[in-house]
Amino acid sequence: MRDKLAIGLAAAAAGLLANNLYQMFMVLPDEALQGAIYRILFFHAPAAMVGMIGYFVALTFSVLYLTSKNLIHDSLAASIVEVSLVFSVVNLVTGSIWARIIWGIWWTWDYRLTSALVCVLIFFGYLVMRRAIDEPTQRARLSSALCIFGCVDVVIVWKSIEWFRNQHPGPVLDFRTGGGKMDPAYAHVFWMNFVAILLMATALVLVRTRQEATSREIDSLRRLAHTAA
């Protein structure tokens, strides 16, 4: 059932992405000031948003683990963090390529970029730490704590373009500005691509959670075999 759902979501994401790519390249014109490269933003910003949503869903499961001590919640949090991290890396890399043309530099240590990099490093550390701890409950407890800590940085990433003067552009999306900063035709493709990336991330999380379930089954069978021996 979960496999079929993952395949369905991946197929829906692929169909939507194909349509979005057609819209981006065949329908929408180049942006007046940025030229063709503005199209990177159709992946850069939705990847960041999907990553942030993922971290907050992982935060929910981490808190649930701490209250319930159910390892399934920990597995779900870890799966979601891993997939979110992939999209955060996409966000950083595509942003850097965009910046090279628009700002003339690959990187600058402004609040938004630095907090986003710190976020990637925290959640990369989260995954490395999980590999280093064998005992499941200790791993889950420390992972949950680190996830909660990491999500404080996610809030800073989100709000940094409002709180500080940055090299990074300020908010442009209607739900943050009240409207008027993005052409409706661009906004439509932007949100369609956000949905496509969200569907793709959900499909990946489903695959990853299945793997976590298999890992738990292997662990329990090993313990059973050990006890029988």
Partner: protein, 55 residues
């Protein structure tokens, strides 16, 4: 417009897809490894159970 503008847009799209593709490949490899490991552990467990039944 700068000729690099289009080239860098291509690099951006390429980078995004390569990162996702590498992750999908790593997921598929990890899935295959876990399946193999599960089969092996199941085999060992059933052998242990048979051994325990005999005694």
């Amino acid at each position: 417009m700068d000729a690099r503008n289009f080239t860098f847009m291509f690099y951006g799209f390429l980078a995004a897809w390569v990162i996702v593709l590498l992750y999908v490949i790593s997921l598929a490899r990890r899935g295959a490894r876990l399946k193999k490991e599960l089969d092996e552990v199941r085999k060992i467990t059933s052998q242990s159970e048979q051994h325990a039944d005999r005694h």
